[in-house]
Symmetry: C2
Subunit: 329 residues, 2 copies
DNA sequence: TTGTAGGCGTTATCAT
DNA sequence: ATGATAACGCCTACAA
């Protein structure tokens, strides 16, 4: 039913090989037949069957974007970065998520790397071991790891430690010495880096690190923030840095306000991420912005470079965070 | 390089046809060869080449999700709904956006409908004419239109008018009679429905509709809200319903607070959509929630039903909104 | 400049 | 129960 190369070929009185060459802009075709073929193709409203083309060329012209969970605004933001610079690029983006699937992440990688559905992959915030990612290298499927440093694959990530240093430095500069740190270890890798940054900044200013001041939360949610507040207040801190994320930070602010504790007067709080809600709460949240769009942008550019053979060596890109001063600290 | 049916066939001493039947769980295969083939497939870590399979079966096992702009949180939320119920389903989701592309929406539809890359499409919040969507029907590519009523294709959308009635009713019940309505005509179809709901509610309560009280904004943004406030205040209303969206509503609240006008004391405001920021602002925003996840859920289920031939007639689903009472009104 | 022929990896229809 | 064989629609040597 759909029109094929052969249909065009018949009407044009040539072979489908010739039509193929015209469609793909190959040289060595007479202007006359080129015109004729193009005209007929247009009349018939021809579009190549991309599946057949893919089989012949062994390319799907599609990039897989693999995310743990599309519910995370962090992930979505990176995806937006990917899609928006993907405009200029002739690759299709297909989406895979891993949470709650029958397949685990490792199995998905395995399958995607071998079933030839995608030409390359972008892994956003994956938590598997580097060993499990190796399959992409083994199958020579170009792959970019986003939001996490990776030794064996290309990667783009933010300087979490640096961001944490900035935040802590700022609080210290404001005169605080009793500074808590609220982390979420479930976001395992960044959590450690940020905690390290916090420690380094303290050390730099000769403030002793007090393990009792790091409180752990299960999630980056308002509720987690509410829950954390209790411990913070009991610890008598005057400031809190919340690498766990802005939602938790907002929860802490809310709870403080509820008890009549002025923010930042009696308690200064600094978040991490800079989500949209951060500039809408009161007081507006001071926070460490992660360049999410830029990460997506880098990722898609890097992978296209690989796919087109423009780049071959292992590449790592660390993006800086940006400290955003608002009202909460 | 990748292992194919033929590789397995050779080692098993059978033909690739037989292997294919085993892989696809076809009947009439002796238990002996089935076992042997499966064993070898596993050893070789075989995965079918989905492209080749697609060519043979004329199915890509992939659904295209077409969105105007991934930057819209509304769209993202629906996408999350699609993906999360898509878990149980063996279709891949590939993403297309239309804003800022070389191709316009209509051309994209044309191409997608013909190039056989996707088995079906989900159109989120598209703004083209029904005529331009017809291509999907013509090419018999199942297609679900989301967030907009559509006569010629299946669709799932919310009862915008009803939601507006609820909001306006509520304000009237609170004793307001001078109620403004802030709309964004760029979101063309819902805007009119919501405006109608607003009018209907007024009429029901014998309040004259005053065109001077509907103010138009360019976007659903905080800035747009700030800008709108001026006109609202000049019009001396005591309440404002903001079908344009929650961000605009938040902007209005902010501006009121800045001028010392208590919300909801002197000005009650009701938004539309229920975005995450709505429960984080102060006062928390009273608003009309749209069931975004559910729309995505319905859409993916409907399209899979079509694809599997379980459903064939034109289907339309209208979902109710939910009025969320918080503090701003 | 164009045609011929084979292959890409599967599935599907016949025979056997 | 399995093997030949021919699609599926396109690309690409190589030959003419």
């Amino acid at each position: 039913m759909p029109v094929t190369l052969k249909d065009i070929a018949e009407r044009a009185g040539v072979t489908s090989a010739t039509v193929s060459m015209v469609i793909n802009n190959k040289p060595n075709i007479s202007e006359a037949t080129r015109r004729k073929v193009l005209k007929i193709a247009k009349e018939l409203n021809y579009y190549p069957n991309v599946i057949a083309r893919g089989l012949a060329t062994r390319k799907s012209n599609s990039i897989g974007v693999i995310v743990p969970n599309l519910a995370s605004s962090f992930v979505v933001r990176i995806l937006q970065g990917i899609k928006s610079t993907n405009r200029d690029v002739d690759y299709t983006v297909t989406l895979f998520d891993t949470v709650g699937q029958k397949e685990n992440e490792s199995q998905l990688f395995q399958r995607l790397a071998r079933e030839r559905r995608i030409d390359g992959a972008i892994l956003i915030g994956t938590t598997v071991s580097e060993d499990e990612m190796k399959i992409f290298r083994d199958e020579s499927v170009p792959c970019i790891v986003v939001a996490r440093k990776c030794d064996i694959l290309d990667s783009v990530y933010v300087n979490n430690e640096g961001g944490a240093v900035d935040a802590t430095d700022y609080l210290i500069a404001k005169g605080h010495t009793a500074i808590a740190c609220v982390i979420c270890r479930k976001q395992n890798l960044p959590a450690e880096d940020r905690l390290n940054g916090y420690k380094k900044a303290l050390e730099k200013h000769n403030i002793a690190f007090n393990p009792a001041l790091v409180v752990e939360v299960d999630d980056d949610t308002i509720e987690a923030g509410h829950a954390a507040f209790e411990k913070l207040w009991a610890a008598q801190v005057t400031a809190v840095f919340v690498p766990a994320g802005d939602m938790a930070a907002i929860g802490i602010v809310q709870e403080a306000k509820k008890r009549g504790i002025p923010v930042p007067g009696k308690l200064a709080v600094v978040g991490f991420d800079d989500i949209p809600a951060a500039e809408v709460v009161e007081p507006m949240l001071t926070t460490v912005r992660q360049p999410k769009l830029e990460m997506g942008d880098y990722a898609i550019n890097m992978i296209v470079d690989k796919l087109e053979g423009r780049e071959s060596e292992l590449k790592h890109k660390e993006l800086p965070t940006k400290f955003i001063v608002r009202e909460s600290a």
